[in-house]
């Protein structure tokens, strides 16, 4: 899509006009970002379409070639692959296993498990596994 940005005088009302044949997921996400200042993902549940605010996402997981995002108490299917999603998510998200990207702001605590893995307790009470080989990425993201 061709994007045109025009500079306007200070004090003028900023606005955006999108001319599109179809309102697809990318356009919906762009509209939400422009309107609310927050990035959103487009998820699907029971055939309905939902806009999910990125900071509300706890983690994204690939299951049987499908990608799901989990919020505090809901789950949505995404159209993207996990690696595509990982590429667009912001600094809050870090890969913690081959099939999961986790929002580190939603981690309550971590604990080493008996099998040398690391379990993460999330703010909503869920537990997820952090593969040992991805712990260094998590530490790096936390500035350790």
């Amino acid at each position: 899509m061709k994007v045109t940005v025009n500079k306007i005088p200070e004090g003028s009302q900023e606005n955006a006009v999108i001319n599109a044949v179809n309102i697809d997921d990318n356009i919906s996400a762009a509209v939400s970002l422009l309107e609310n200042g927050e990035r959103t993902l487009v998820g699907y549940r029971d055939g309905d379409k939902f806009l999910i605010k990125e900071p509300a996402v706890y983690y994204a997981e690939a299951v049987d070639e499908k990608c799901f995002v989990y919020t505090k108490d809901s789950c949505y299917e995404l159209k993207q692959k996990l690696y595509e999603l990982e590429a667009i998510l912001d600094f809050r998200f870090v890969r913690v296993s081959k099939s999961m990207v986790l929002n580190i702001k939603k981690i309550k605590s971590v604990k080493t498990a008996e099998n040398a893995r690391m379990n993460a307790a999330l703010l909503n009470g869920e537990q997820v596994v952090i593969s040992r080989s991805y712990v260094k990425d998590l530490k790096k993201r936390l500035g350790l």
């Binding site: 900071p55 505090k72 296993s97 081959k98 580190i104 702001k105 939603k106 981690i107 309550k108 605590s109 971590v110 604990k111 080493t112 498990a113 099998n115 040398a116 893995r117 690391m118 703010l123 909503n124 596994v129 593969s131 040992r132 080989s133 712990v135 260094k136 998590l138 530490k139 936390l142 500035g143 350790l144």
Partner: protein, 143 residues
Amino acid sequence: MKSTVKVLIEQSSLIAFLILVGISIEEFIEFLNGEPFYLDWFIPISIVIVSVLSSLPSLLILKERETDGSNSKWFLILHFLLVYAIVMGAGYFFKWYTTFQYFVYTSLIYVCIYFAVWFVTLLFYRHDEKMINTALESFRDDE
């Protein structure tokens, strides 16, 4: 690839150090019993070789960590047996033991070293856990 090599080097170093600790204890006991200290020329290089070979089954553990963890017990048992086979095979080749009695001693030292490696590794993991939890304090959302 880089992390795999790093794990192999870490494991080799730790195993070599603990083998040296084991040999030191064994030789010290023999010294106390009045037996003379004697070390063949190939013993140091055999320690290096066995350390590197013994770290290779750790690749199994790395692979297992990518799974759902349901088979972790079997991976650990397989890892223990594989390393035992490598140590005792190399030990036979390098004449670490020549009698059944020393075979048993070597096996006992192996078991001690194996669990010591795990213990030290777990200490490192606990240190990671503590650092991450401290860092999370100032990072997590309020909900």
